[in-house]
Symmetry: C2
């Protein structure tokens, strides 16, 4: 195993890059803008130039680098082929790993879906360290997920394993999800979903609430829960009911050791956890009742950690 | 790889045993009674005696046998430890693989859960042949499941991966499932569940139906669907709605190549399939929309095939 690896996490506005040692130490991280114009054709050359510049700056020779891993916002199969990446304005099906390797003078490159890669990061150096079978749930604007089995990402047939934001959880939802279906988990338990639950709750009651004065963000809901606000607490109960039920179904399929809860919603702190775990225990099959729960600790760096681990 | 392997499938009333060649040919199968008295202490010695007798009868030497695999009705971890097997009257936690190996003079033995092992059998020599990632769904008195990833059984942390009969699928169910929860998939889409759906449907309508004259078995429902009976067809629609929704959630997690539908209900024929696939497509995330479906073809032999494959 060579001394260094690069971990690259590509988002719609910026690309985060990390230089790691092979034992998981983050030596340095930086970011570059994601240039999505012209169907995002500059994105991979920009990344390669930044990586090669960093090697020059730090006097790192090519034979000291094990490779570069890259996490992408779209389904990626195990060979590195991406099918669709709306946020990057990529419209063709092509092999990201091969193309980036070309720009990097033949360096070993592996690619994965960003949510899966973040799960691998938490399993490697985050709060999932030491667990071989885990599911990471990323509660952000939407809900992403990543499944790690025996220490490796489960990609799925079309790169869509762990797309748990779109499991069906509510039968009578009239509002459509972004995916076109109705009643997806993401419609209730993402940051956007929590705000939606709040607005429905406020519309249903005249009860006084801290939430009537505040901006309606998911973070505000959790702050109000901590302050003992009854309306916010009911929203939290509903969030927990949906998410706990969804994770119980996932545990019925995978029987993992641990769930790692990440994404922006998880940054609101431990306050979110009892609402999830209480409902999980209510719905789950007894053999998975002891499944552990933890919050992610790598935050936005999970993606670069996991990307580096792809090649290590 | 040695020439032969034994596959053993232990049920509550009989033990099926198969002698296989290492390329998957079933040379001979037979069964012996399952003696559950005295906490089932004779079960493993009986199996070993039967295997050793067969080797003697056919002049098969110990060094011609790769090993014996055994499927059991309970959660089994990857080392061969079983936690509970109510139907066998086994009450202790012990290592089945080690104990049976002892009775078989040190033969290599591997153990697995029966539903998982049946899935492996279908993946090896059944209708899942050629697919590396599949989910088998066994629709019998209850619902069992087995998950195969990269050609291997996913056991789960406590041996309970693929326990898909108990994923939560209906919020307002008043009747308790055998597991103690309410609204499990098994309450609607098993043979027992189909009969329950039928009885609820008949109680709700005075409409004439073939089902008023027949015994109420799941098989009768499917026969009546084929005869164009409206009440039976509504029951089939409900069955398909529940099962399609459940399998859509599973596909959201695993993104498998194919679902293999087995168990007694699947023996009613192709008539069951459109009810499942139509509803699956309605609920599933688009990336898993092309997931294939097939019916199991090994029937009751799936367990012995899969058990033999455990050691091959």
């Amino acid at each position: 195993m060579k001394k260094y690896a690069f971990g690259i996490d590509v988002g719609g506005t910026s690309v985060k890059i990390g230089l790691f040692t092979n034992d998981g130490m983050l030596v340095e991280k930086w970011s570059i803008p994601t240039r999505t114009e012209d169907n995002g054709k500059a994105i991979l050359p920009d990344i390669a130039a930044s990586v090669l510049d960093k090697m020059k700056e730090r006097n790192i020779a090519a034979d000291e680098v094990e490779g570069a891993g890259i996490g992408l916002p779209g389904p990626v199969d195990e060979t590195g082929v991406i099918r669709k990446a709306v946020n990057l304005h990529w419209e063709n099906v092509f092999n990201v790993a091969e193309e980036l390797a070309g720009y990097l003078n033949g360096m070993k490159v592996k690619a994965g879906n960003d949510a899966n890669v973040a799960a691998l990061g938490e399993a490697w150096m985050g709060s999932g360290k030491g667990f071989k079978n885990l599911v990471m749930v990323t509660l952000g604007t939407g809900i992403g997920g990543g499944v790690i089995i025996n220490g490796k990402i489960l990609e799925g047939t079309t790169g869509a394993a762990g797309e748990i934001g779109h499991i069906h959880i509510q039968d009578d939802e009239e509002l459509a999800c972004n995916c076109g279906n109705h009643g997806c988990l993401e419609q209730y338990a993402s940051a956007t979903g929590i705000v939606r639950l709040l607005e429905r709750e406020l519309a249903n009651t005249d009860e006084p609430s801290l939430m009537r004065e505040k901006k309606h963000t998911a973070k505000d809901v959790w702050d109000a829960v901590e302050a003992g606000d009854a309306v916010a607490t009911r929203v939290a109960e509903k969030f927990g009911e949906y998410l706990g039920k969804g994770l119980a179904d996932i545990a019925g399929v995978l029987n993992p050791e641990i769930f790692v809860i990440g994404g922006g919603v998880s940054l609101s702190g431990e306050v979110i956890m009892p609402f999830i775990t209480k409902n999980f225990k209510k719905y789950v099959f007894h053999a998975s009742r002891e499944t552990k729960f933890t919050r992610a600790i790598l935050g936005n760096d999970g993606g670069i950690y996991g990307a580096a681990k792809l090649v290590l």
